[in-house]
Symmetry: C2
Subunit: 595 residues, 2 copies
């Protein structure tokens, strides 16, 4: 199993570790120290050795940070983790609601004039530190770079991961690393820049057409890179990952420890992304006399705009994954109404169907499987403690995905277990209308995700409903299931461009009662000319898995919406039917009848 | 009649006037001179004496400007006026497509190093001049303020208008001028500003609860004002407008000629809106030693957020105007299918029905009445030359509005004359879906017009259609039919706030064939709590006039949309029925049957 169900928290170990940290702080003469969940790569998933926040506090959520003072220890978490943090940390820690309480405000109220705030400059971006400095300098607080004090006291801290690298084949990437590097070198030359520093593992993995085994869920190679204007690359990682690997001589592999000295040897203009690179990177470059030029990670946008080969591969991954999902849904529909399943049973079985494809490299995130009221907890991850029976008469929300060599999937279906109430159906239909609105959308080139986001919400808004998450996030190809810069969200001003893969996942959550989310992945395409031949973009759907018709109030759909749903189901049957067991095929035939 | 149908252009007078202007330019030693359509108040409508662009060039459009060189005379107009400008100006003038060709670029290519560009600083804002200066100074072009050279050569230039002012009664404004001025004075005091200069007549008319008769279509008082931090006002206009008027002693009335000296006497910080105030204003204030503080017109937002009294008055104006519209539509429906009417007949009759209310103070703009292909010309204004028969089998688009003392209306209906084709009905239904989407919209407080605009377009976008104008503009209360800052448009980032009145007017235009637009006015309200009791805003509809059911493909509507349309029509019948003649009431009963 890729997924585990233990609650990994160790609240009792928090207090002694906190004492040890405070001793180190005293020794350094600092009044406060920051412990972020982030590693130097600012990723969603971190290696075991970088789980400093969980090690210190017991809090295992995927986002947050701690600010440790002499007599107070704040653990900052967002609304998703309000309940979890209380259950996971000892009394010595104080949960703080973030971002309604900002770190700089919290520190500003507690640190006296003349106090010193210490932090590891490898774990914080230049942008973050600038925000802190602006707020705290006027109050007489000094910011000081330190060694990582957690690493100093963490006995048996795991080593850096050393997963073997693999080449991502050209037929799946569509573009060789040499081509990508040549394009990037041209960008640098045109800007008069000598080099760019890359610190995001998915950018580096994409640029070099490499995949790794360093993290769970995301097949990146954990590394730093310096790409020079001559298109050669210095790569900093654990070299053992490359043993027996036949690497292009233009890619020079070094031990991670050599990264800082290499930064110090750079000259001329060096491009660095202030929103993602550790402050240490720009500090070293600047203090060695080179000129830091702030600029966004130049791999982010080309990576987001998938090649035709990547799109074709992703289509295949979705059909494979879709067939596994249908086998699963057919099984679920047979078993669940009997009332004997739990959420963990469901998660295990789903992973089993995906494994049975013999192509699964990993799950793209821990499956979210919420029965009844658990479905309303947006980022619910079932553990042995929270495991709930799947009861007839309730909704079951299942959000899951797979990593395949040809693509990354992410799909949510909400299904009726036995007969459910009219209110659930009415809400499901509103969510479906939003999800269809995005599926059917065509729009003038140049619009951003912000401009489409309201289309997914309008039906819910009309009756006073909404959902407190974005409508969609970017998705990689055998890379991160969450990637930027593209997204469908009120806060996204990034224009949508052909080739970008996004999720389309409106939802509705009624606390204590039920949760609904319907999610397909889509890819932005030049729309086929029709009507007045305007220059428009549209989405091609990648995910093919039936949507539970029993939850659809067909009278609430308009003609376009009904046609979309029926056409989609006809395509699902057509594409997946030949890939299924006889039993699942029968089930699917029924599930795909027109509404 | 408020509306006339003559083509007022005089192309033959252009060349001698151009020669006279060039003589003045030579006398001043300038190489180029700007002639904008704008007056010192930057309004949509200008007084006769300010029609300098039309006087010089013959072009009578509502927007544009000319740049006169020694040997070339460019007339800059936007896409709406491409055809019109060619018909209206003599060969000595060169039409220029604006904004694709920018003024500064056009001048930059034509003016030599050392050249001088002259302009009247009362007719250009600081923002405009800054753009010119940035582009032209590096090329060695000098910008020089001059007298207005058109005024110097224009024999028999009309005088400034002197329409009598009227008080707008408290029961219609809901707030006294003293209250509004006290609030504004507080804003100034809080910002440490001694005064604000107001140059927009609708801001001044709103602040002083005055209305005037200086311009067609907009009942403002043409004036400038200085509002002091002690809440008193110096008002600059033609004092004869105020003869017999009982004016608050805190409002000191001066001749317009005293405005410049009064600006020169200001001290301390003076707030000026760089986007709307003439450059002359800030120049005079600054050169006299006061400190210019750029800030938006402080009346714009409070004026946009209507009081309950203003909303109540506007509701009444809409019912009165709606009843006139229904009498008109009943008449039209009887006469038009016989094929004997022209567009001008229709416009005259409509104005007649509005006049018959005995409450019409003016039409809020020249009625747009486009039969068949003329409906596709978005800003079409019928003249004797363009007048077209209203033919059975075609659509007729009528966009019109009235000025009443209690409110300003603006309504568009598109009606079938006899039997029209399925394509027209399909397109009408898509436009209607967009118009209903806005009518039904509820949204989280904080969204801007940009965020709602896509809801009005989604149904059209889906088949490759769109419309090249905003979805809605702000509307005043017995003031401008176009007002800012609120709008429903891709380019509007202004948050929508309760009390703002907007038009909701999606459309579809098929060149050479037909045009469709459906327009109601709506007002933003705090939405009644429902569903999850989220903090949402919604629109209340102000316009009650039936929508042509014969053009609706009811099968393409969803349940919400059908319910909205049927409920709307039931309300129309309920509200207007008692106000109608027997014949019109019968017609309306039929027109309001459910779909």
């Amino acid at each position: 199993m890729f997924q585990t169900f233990q609650s990994t928290t160790t609240p009792d170990q928090g207090p002694p570790r906190l004492s040890a940290l405070r001793e180190e702080m005293a020794g350094e003469g600092i009044d406060a120290f920051l412990v972020p969940r982030a590693d130097a790569h600012q990723g969603e998933y971190v290696a075991d050795r970088d789980e400093r926040l969980a090690w210190l506090t017991g809090f295992t959520g995927s986002a947050g940070f701690a600010a440790i003072l002499k007599d107070e220890a704040g653990v900052f978490v967002d609304g998703r983790y309000t309940l979890q943090v209380r259950a996971q940390v000892a009394d010595d820690f104080t949960p703080v609601a973030w971002p309604s309480t900002k770190l700089e405000a919290w520190l500003g109220e507690r640190l006296a004039d003349g106090a010193t705030l210490g932090f590891d400059p490898w774990l914080h971006t230049a942008k973050e530190v600038e925000t802190l400095d602006k707020a705290l300098s006027p109050k007489g607080v000094t910011l000081r770079h330190t060694e990582n004090l957690i690493d100093r006291i963490w006995e048996n801290q795991p080593a850096l991961p050393a997963g073997r690298v693999e080449d991502q084949p050209l037929e799946l990437t569509g573009r060789s690393s040499a081509e990508k590097r040549a394009d990037l070198a041209k960008v640098l030359k045109d800007a008069g820049q000598n080099a760019v520093v890359l610190t995001l593992p998915d950018s580096i993995s994409w640029l070099l057409n490499l995949r790794g085994r360093d993290l769970s869920h995301t097949p990146v190679v954990l590394a730093f890179a310096i790409v020079h204007a001559d298109a050669t690359v210095d790569l900093f990682t654990r070299p053992s990952k490359f043993s027996d690997h036949d690497t292009d001589p233009d890619i020079r592999i070094h031990r991670t420890e050599k990264f800082a000295p290499a930064l110090g040897a750079l000259e001329g203009k060096v491009r660095i992304d202030r929103a993602t690179a550790p402050l240490a990177v720009s500090d070293i470059v600047a203090s060695a006399g080179a000129e830091v030029v702030w600029g966004s990670d130049p791999c982010a946008l080309p990576k987001a705009k998938k090649s035709e080969a990547e799109i074709a591969g992703t289509r295949q991954a979705h059909l494979r994954d879709g067939a596994a999902m249908v086998e699963f849904l057919a099984w679920l529909d047979q078993k669940a109404p009997k009332g004997k399943l739990t959420e963990i049973d469901v998660v295990k079985k789903l992973e089993g169907f995906r494994r049975a494809t013999n192509a699964l490299r990993g799950i793209s995130f821990d499956t979210i499987c919420g029965a009844g009221p658990n479905g309303a907890i947006v980022h619910y991850r079932v553990t042995d403690e929270t495991n709930r029976p799947v009861r007839p008469g309730e909704l079951l929300l299942i959000d899951s995905g797979g990593q395949y060599v040809d693509g990354t999937t992410d799909i949510t279906r909400t299904v009726a277990v036995g007969d459910v109430g009219d209110e659930e159906k009415a809400c499901f239909t509103k969510v479906l209308k939003g999800m269809i609105a995005i599926s059917l959308a065509r729009w003038p080139r140049g619009l951003a995700g912000r401009d489409l986001d309201p289309l997914a919400r309008a039906a819910l808004w009309r009756t006073g409903f909404d959902y407190d998450h974005g409508t969609g996030h970017g998705v990689g190809v055998y890379l991160g299931v969450h990637e930027g810069p593209q997204r469908l969200s009120r806060i996204s001003e990034v224009p949508l461009e052909p080739g970008m893969i996004l999720s389309n996942e409106p939802g509705y959550y009624r606390e204590g009662a039920f949760g609904i989310r319907i999610e397909n992945l889509v890819v932005v395409r030049d729309a086929e000319k029709q009507g007045d031949n305007r220059d428009q973009l549209s989405f091609e759907t990648l995910t093919y898995v039936p949507i539970d018709r029993r939850l659809v109030d067909a009278d609430a759909l308009d003609r376009d919406e009904r046609t979309w749903l029926n056409t989609y189901h006809a395509e699902v049957l057509d594409k997946l039917g030949p890939r299924l067991s006889a039993g699942a095929r029968n089930w699917l035939t029924d599930a795909c009848q027109p509404v």
